[in-house]
């Protein structure tokens, strides 16, 4: 491994610098939202390009901050951080969601109170997520999650205007603190069992220890603690109130960005132990051989069942919702279930499928929340029924929203279809191994759920296109505004999301082969 160079952390440093700059500008008396926004957009865009360059996209190689030898070389037994290509992919995911949200938020009222707080915290939260992606140690990982956590608690309540937002912030804070406590408790149990919190040590020690019940309890606490972050059922109840009560742009960031951080934390904590046990047979010390305690069936079954319950409950509750944001929040919970399928299976193809699903979710779910934010700024109420005639009155916005919903429903030629297709293919493929037929039913459960989800997305389409518009709502926006009241920033963000949904849906090969290679490295290096 090369000697550590500070340039490796340039994308992270850039976000930190930008966040400090935003706070500084605020102190200096700058009040224009556009100024903070420009800093945030610039920093996230530049970091994103650097991360893409690090992933081996040659046309941008002059922006690369990591020597290729560092990537996927694996951390040592004492490292706090390690650069994996899958981590870089996730950094790309986090930065994309931050970029979309900061771009869209440029269209918020220019003199909105707390704009600096919003953008500064957005950058800090993104920084925390970036650090999660390079974690190689459980404590480092949990601290990085906390950086994001604290920033997002504040973001939910930053407008300080309505009681719902404050209630959401309070709820989010208490649940977040609880989940952190549970995670750290789990980490301390693992430290007790292994004498280390290094993730590589944890996964290599597993299976050899005699005191496996301690480790099992530790992992159980981590499933619960991280499960809160990913909104797994039954740890999901906070998410709907928070997504609903938060300013909608913040909801976009929570659903599109921070939730993915939890998923990657799951990758880091569980894929290593899951993949190593397939190669390790018997651990001998001296003359005493201990048959490895095989965690794999337990963990697979637990995560698989959690995935099924999460998908199903999320979808069923989404069906019952009358408000758009609550419906999207429940659909976000069910999407977390799809991602858990990938983790439960734990093969490289499944991880690749889950990662593509996560990337897709940024564009479709964050995009959908951004549209909702724009539409409610025009004066449309929170109910789904109040979206009636949107598709007829605003054809372009309607098509964009429709594409996002179709992608969430997994309809072909959208990225949501490709990612689910690959994920479920991976599940079927994994089930052909003897004794793994459980994964086939995981795929069936996932597919049936995606059929179920079509119901509530189609209902929105029905309202948008098949019911006549409500004449009292000024859907057209102010006269003479080419964006129809959406603003240039939001329009650009929505356009970006739609382009990504269609481009990745039609030709996913370049992105997907990179993800597949990264996932293969990730699984191999865990062993």
């Amino acid at each position: 491994m090369d000697p550590v160079s500070w340039t490796w952390f340039l994308p992270e440093a850039f976000l930190l610098g930008a966040a400090l700059l935003v706070f500084l500008l605020d102190v200096l008396g700058v009040e224009k939202l556009e100024a903070f926004g420009a800093v945030a957009v610039g920093a996230t865009a530049l970091s994103l390009l650097a991360v893409v360059a690090d992933l081996g996209f040659t046309p941008l190689s002059f922006l690369s901050t990591l020597p290729p030898s560092v990537v996927d070389s694996g951390g040592g037994a004492t490292s706090l951080y390690a650069f994996s290509s899958l981590g870089l992919v996730f950094q790309g995911v986090f930065l994309s969601s931050a970029l979309l949200v900061s771009l869209a938020s440029l269209s918020r009222p220019s003199h909105e109170k707390g704009a600096a707080v919003f953008y500064g915290l957005l950058l800090m939260a993104t920084l925390g997520m970036m650090l999660v992606a390079v974690s190689a140690d459980l404590i480092f990982l949990l601290l990085a999650i906390e950086v994001t956590g604290i920033a997002t608690y504040l973001m939910v309540g930053y407008t300080r205007k309505d009681a719902r937002g404050l209630e959401a912030a309070m709820k989010f804070y208490i649940i977040g603190a609880l989940s952190t406590a549970l995670s750290f408790f789990g980490a301390s149990l693992l430290f007790g069992a292994f004498g280390s919190t290094n993730l590589l040590v944890l996964s290599q020690g597993l299976g050899g220890i005699s005191n496996h019940s301690l480790a099992l309890v530790g992992y159980a606490f981590l499933i619960v603690g991280l499960g809160f972050k990913v909104t797994l059922v039954p740890f999901h109840a906070w998410a709907v109130d928070v997504y609903d009560g938060a300013p909608t742009d913040v909801s976009a960031f929570l659903a599109g960005g921070t939730k993915k951080m939890g998923v990657f934390a799951f990758f880091l904590v569980f894929i290593g132990p899951l993949s190593i046990l397939t190669v390790r047979a018997v651990n001998c010390t001296g003359t005493v051989c201990i048959a490895p305690y095989d965690f794999r069936p337990t963990v697979e079954l637990t995560l698989g069942l959690l995935a099924i319950v999460t998908m199903t409950l999320g979808n069923v509750l989404a069906l019952l919702q009358k408000e758009m944001k609550r419906m999207l929040a429940y659909s976000s919970i069910s999407q977390a279930g799809y991602m858990m399928i990938g983790i439960a299976i734990g093969t490289a193809p499944a991880l690749a499928g889950a990662t593509l699903q996560i990337l897709a979710h940024v564009f479709m779910k964050a995009g959908a929340f951004l549209v909702v934010a724009g539409v409610s700024a025009l004066g449309v109420g929170p109910l789904i029924a109040q979206y009636r005639g949107l598709g007829q009155r605003r054809p372009y916005l309607g098509v964009a929203f429709a594409l996002m919903l179709l992608s969430l429903a997994g309809i072909p030629l959208t990225v949501g279809f490709v990612s689910k297709f690959i994920l479920f293919s991976a599940a079927v493929q994994a089930s052909t191994v003897a004794g793994q037929s459980f994964f086939f039913w995981l795929a069936v459960a996932g597919l049936l759920n995606s059929a179920l989800s079509v119901f509530y997305y189609a209902r929105v389409l029905k309202v948008m296109y098949m019911e006549s518009p409500d004449a009292s709502v000024p859907l057209d926006g102010p006269a003479g505004d080419p964006t129809g009241g959406l603003g240039y920033g939001r329009s650009a963000a929505i356009l970006l999301a739609v382009v990504a949904i269609v481009a990745l849906g039609v030709y996913p090969q370049p992105v997907f082969s990179a993800i597949q290679a990264a996932a293969t490295h990730f699984v191999a290096s865990g062993a």
Binding site: I411, F417, S425, V428, F440, S450, Y465, P508
Partner: protein
Amino acid sequence: MVPVLSLLLLTLLAGTVVTFLAGRRARWVALATSVGFLFETLWLLDSYTSWPGRSGALGVPQYSDGESYAWISVPWLHINYTVGIDGISLILILLTAFLQLATVVYCWTESRRPSAWFGLVLLTCLGSFGVFIALDVLLFFLFWEATLIPMFFMIGFWGGPRRRYAALKFFVYTHVASIVMLVALLAVVFYAHAASFDFSDIYIATHSSGFPIVTQAMLFLALFFGFGVKFPIVPFHTWLPDAHVEAPTGGSVLLAGLLLKLGGYGLIRWAVEVLPQGLAHTSWIVYGVAFASIIWGTVLSLSQRDLKRMIAYSSINHMGIVLLAIAVYSSLGLLAAVLLMFAHGVVSGLLFMASGSVHHTFGTRDIVTLRGITPRTPVLATMIMVGSLASLGLPALISFPAEFTALLATWDRLGYWVLLPLVILVVTAGFYLWMMQRVLFGPPQNIPEKAHDVDVYETAGMAILVALIILYGVLPGFLVNVIVNSPVYGFP
């Protein structure tokens, strides 16, 4: 070599996109696209003289005008853009081209959002065309689903009073079925260890000896369900009458004429050809479902007062005969199934157009109250008569050779069981004659004062289909020669 199939696909794709954006001129773009597509199809038909044969020890079918490009390729997953045709696909592509043109012409005066309407018509045909040429699981599924969305909007926006319920029901039924179909196809690919998602690789994998019969039978049943809902088979047929009755006329034409055929085509290509052992071990189930569909479809059809509902239910009966012809698993049966699909596509298209015009002209489609429309609307009455006579299987019209072949194939395999569909056909014929006697020839009753005959566009749309009914009824050899020119035409 000219990538003919991609060119055809591109024609439809470009036509569809331009139509959506063309505003008031949409109908002209749609017409130009349909005419262009029809001529390209005829050119394709002309250049298709023989099939390339089979290759390898397993007799892997080769396809004409094949193209293949890598689409998604990672070590464990190989998905290609692979297209190709044989005689079966070609006949159904021909059906697509004619129905598209007829629908565009018939709906010429559509005034509610014409650009969206004509765009959706073309999109439906694009999806169907794609299904008929796709030789890769993902590509096939993509086009399969692509026909769903335009039909959902056509029913839901342009449809009758209960359109929203019908659109949702249609969408959910067919979507759940496609999910089952997809799981089954994925399982075929991975459990048979196919080298890629391509048809030929899957064929090689499923025909090698290592693939257990039990797995084949289970997967075949799953595929049968997936394709069967589209047919539709009893007891999963309840979406069809709702969808048809609420759908606008153009939507009904495409639904009955094209979308039902996707089920038949899918069953032949992706279930029977891929898993012949699966069919062989479950054929009694398929026979049972086919007979149930034939009988129940007829019973329901006979008990309707609504002309359109009656035609919709008779589709279940006709598609049941298609299923029977596929299930007997012989070259004659296959020929019959494809002929029947073509015939039913054209005839039901005509009948749905005619019943749409009846509703439009008289404000009702009630067989019981509406009497003697011939004096007022002679052209419309003629169309109904041609359609009904073709539907009941009058010789020299298109359905006759198809139904005759189907019965012959059934006799070959099942002996006296053939009496069952035969009796049903006779009953249906009687019912059609009774309907014509009342609606067309009785003393005029309940005819509104302002009722006038169909306009020139509706006439032209129906005339195209009438011409096909007579042409291919007199000269079915045109179709037969193409169909038997298929690799799949090697059934026992």
